[in-house]
Symmetry: C2
Subunit: 127 residues, 2 copies
């Protein structure tokens, strides 16, 4: 315990790194990454795969993922404009993590529901 210190007691991540993590774990980002890990898709294909995302949100999400090096945007045709999005090597390194996240959620959702009912019952009695 001697040396060390500095901001070691604080987070393992600095503010910029945490911001990156937020961007990657974003609601739509996770879905897009997971979907593109399956296969490259066109913009509107992606929309259909994720029916609840709006065009605006999808555009924003894709731009940010592209800027962060997680996906690649490839123009494949000029007339009518055709754009393909595919997972980039850096995005591929997240695949196992994303799968694990979805897996954890599916595996533990029922237990969370029970916890919620317990919590809601208790607070209803008191409140």
């Amino acid at each position: 315990m001697p040396e060390t210190t500095l901001a070691e007691a604080d987070s393992p991540l600095n503010a910029e790194q945490r911001e990156l993590l937020d961007q990657v774990l974003d609601k739509w980002s996770l879905r897009v990454l997971e979907t593109l890990c399956g296969r490259p898709l066109r913009f509107n294909e992606l929309r259909r795969e994720i029916p609840t995302v709006t065009q605006k949100s999808l555009t924003t999400t894709l731009r940010r993922l592209e800027r962060n090096g997680m996906v690649e945007r490839v123009v494949t045709g000029t007339r009518p404009l055709a754009v393909e999005y595919r997972i980039a090597p850096l995005g591929k390194t997240l695949q196992d993590l994303v799968d694990a996240l979805f897996g954890w959620t599916a595996a533990n959702y029922a237990e969370v529901e029970r916890a919620r009912r317990r919590f809601d019952d208790e607070t209803t009695q008191r409140g």
Copy 2:
């Protein structure tokens, strides 16, 4: 036949499950989970461990984590009110995942920065 299928079948998670994941992956939730995995902490201790969180956000985060069964809130003293927060078994199942997330970020941040510079340079030239 379930009347709720529609085009939702391709996603590994339904809407409620994705909402749970969003709550767990929330900016402050991750920090709180990680911190409480170390040891139980009082409310104000937690605030000091996460200096940038406001009281309001910390309260909201803790309530939600408690409701989802991820942390336990234990009142240990009544006179000056004393409350301890500790990781619950369900929250403990997330520890490896949270560590992996922080680990991935730390390991890949430099690469992301390079990607960002590439992206910004390219769009600057065109824009």
